[in-house]
């Protein structure tokens, strides 16, 4: 059965990180421990293609790469040949988000991460992120 591990932020860390946590196909995403304050909910998208196609050499895809250190990211094959499930959530032990990352994530991390996952999916599937005609829909703050 295919297995995928936690992904590293850069090529050099792949081998080590891939061994740190292995998610089996039918297992649930790793759970937060009892008192762990991190928001337990994973945001997940399914991307067409096998994990090695979606994440060549195990590298974090854009735009998630910008969140390295602030979120944890997992990938595993989706059942039924549907592709690769890509899951992310805020790292619980990150001592508060700082600087650029805090600015990027804003006050609704779940929604922000979901949008980042969606863009990563679009990049993997179509090679680009679809842009609206009306700049209104490109503007942050408008439901999108």
């Amino acid at each position: 059965m295919a297995r995928m591990g936690r992904l590293a932020g850069g090529g050099s860390k792949v081998a080590r990180a891939a061994r740190t946590l292995v998610v089996r196909r039918r297992e649930r995403w790793p759970h937060a421990a009892g008192t762990d304050p991190r928001p337990g909910r994973w945001q997940v998208v399914t991307v067409a293609g096998r994990p090695e196609e979606v994440l060549p050499r195990g590298r974090w895809p854009e735009p998630l790469r910008r969140l390295y250190g602030a979120v944890e990211l997992y990938a595993r094959p989706a059942p039924g040949g549907r592709g690769t499930e890509l899951a992310a959530r805020l790292l619980g032990n990150a001592p508060g988000l700082r600087g650029m990352v805090a600015h990027l994530v804003g006050d609704d991390p779940g929604r922000f991460i979901r949008q980042a996952l969606r863009e990563a999916k679009q990049l993997a599937e179509t090679g680009e992120v679809l842009r609206a005609d009306c700049s209104r829909w490109d503007r942050p703050g408008v439901p999108g």
Binding site: Q115, E125, E128, D133
Partner: protein, 383 residues
């Protein structure tokens, strides 16, 4: 360029707006030759669809000439005459690969609003706000077409503009209706709504070999078209007991396939009603379709609905073992085949273009279309 802009509830006007530009590598820009009104525009026009803003350009059924091509486009060149599927889909996600283009994961720019309304985002559509697309409409001189290799199709020379423009939406929707109903030779099919969608559903059912196709409406001019141009049987619900008549015309069994091609009303049913997830709609046509349908038959919902519908006869669905199916059209799957049939004269659609107007008169066109005045079935604009 000039374009028809929404200005507020039931107010539209042709205005000067910025020209579209290539924004993604798979885009083309099309100079519009024909752009048609659609029943789906009526709730938009009335201001019933959230996020539509003053200045947004309407229209989604169109055909034109390619004038600009993005660097990743492979199938189109400048000067090609193309008809563009009203729905926007990437062609690469799991749904597109199954041929379910209207369910595309990557077809809108307002995915999270769609997710809150329906659970998952769907494919996009021109001339609709973010949750349903976020792309300017086609009642304009130029339109930007994303994913052009997936959604734009070269039109065979022998097919006229006035025929081919219906390959954008109404014809694939009709095909969808017959396909979801799995219409087969010997079937009796009933269709509610004699607009372009209902007529082309009836036509598709006949092409698939249906024995008898009945179309229900109360507009005599539209029902005459059903008889003359489609070869189906008209039924005017204003003068006839629809359920009794359909039972009689189907040997007491009820039609094998019943298709609702009416959709939500242009005007809200009450003060609270209308918006995504807001107050409930009612559909008399859908209730009749469920009642009329033979046991273990199929009811197909083609009409556009965005919110909650009340007084739906679930009891009849359950007791009679009905199958209820619905979708937005997956035109990318059928447009080449439909253009072929148009080229062979098997599928004729130009009679639907009852009013051909210059774009500058698009507001008049919508007034005619909305009131169904002067026998208007579709107003078709040329910039």
């Amino acid at each position: 360029m000039r374009a028809l802009c929404w200005e507020g509830a039931n107010a539209v006007a042709v205005r000067e707006v910025p020209d579209p530009e290539l924004r993604n590598a798979h885009d083309i820009i099309v100079r519009v030759r024909r752009s048609a009104t659609c029943g789906a525009d009526l709730p938009l026009l009335a201001g019933r669809i959230p996020y539509l803003a003053a200045g947004d350009v309407l229209g989604h059924e169109f055909l034109g000439d390619v004038v600009e091509v993005g660097p990743e486009v492979r199938r189109h060149r400048v000067a090609d005459r193309v008809v563009v599927c009203a729905g926007i889909a990437c062609g690469a996600c799991w749904f597109c690969r199954q041929g379910l283009f209207a369910c595309c994961d990557n077809g809108t720019t307002g995915a999270s609003a769609a997710e809150s309304a329906w659970g998952q985002p769907t494919g996009g559509c021109y001339g609709h706000p973010g949750p349903l697309g976020g792309f300017a409409g086609s009642h304009a001189e130029y339109v930007r077409v994303p994913y052009a290799d997936v959604g734009a199709f070269a039109v065979p020379e022998e097919v006229s503009d006035d025929r081919a423009v219906f390959a954008s939406d109404a014809a694939p929707t009709g095909w969808l209706g017959a396909e979801l109903g799995e219409v087969r030779p010997g079937d009796v099919v009933a269709v509610w709504g004699a607009g372009a969608v209902g007529q082309l559903t009836a036509g598709a059912a006949l092409l698939r070999g249906a024995d008898r196709v009945v179309v229900v409406d109360d507009h005599d001019d539209r029902l005459r078209m059903v008889e003359q141009h489609v070869g189906a049987e008209p039924l005017n619900y204003r003068f006839v007991d629809v359920l009794a008549e359909l039972r009689e015309r189907s040997g007491g069994r009820g039609p094998d396939v019943c298709v609702e091609a009416v959709g939500m009303a242009a005007e809200p049913p009450g003060l609270l009603a209308g918006r995504l997830g807001g107050g409930a709609e009612r559909s008399l046509a859908l209730r009749e379709a469920v009642h009329a349908c033979r046991k273990a038959g199929t009811v197909v919902v083609l009409g556009t609905w965005t919110g909650v519908v009340d007084t739906f006869p679930l009891g009849a669905v359950m007791q009679k073992g009905l199958t209820v199916r619905s979708a937005r059209q997956h035109g990318q799957r059928w447009i080449p085949m439909l253009l072929d049939r148009m080229a062979r004269d098997e599928l004729r659609t130009e009679h639907l273009a009852t009013h051909r107007l210059p774009l500058e008169r698009a507001a008049d066109g919508y007034a005619l279309f909305r009131e169904r005045a002067d026998g208007c079935v579709r107003a078709v604009f040329s910039p």
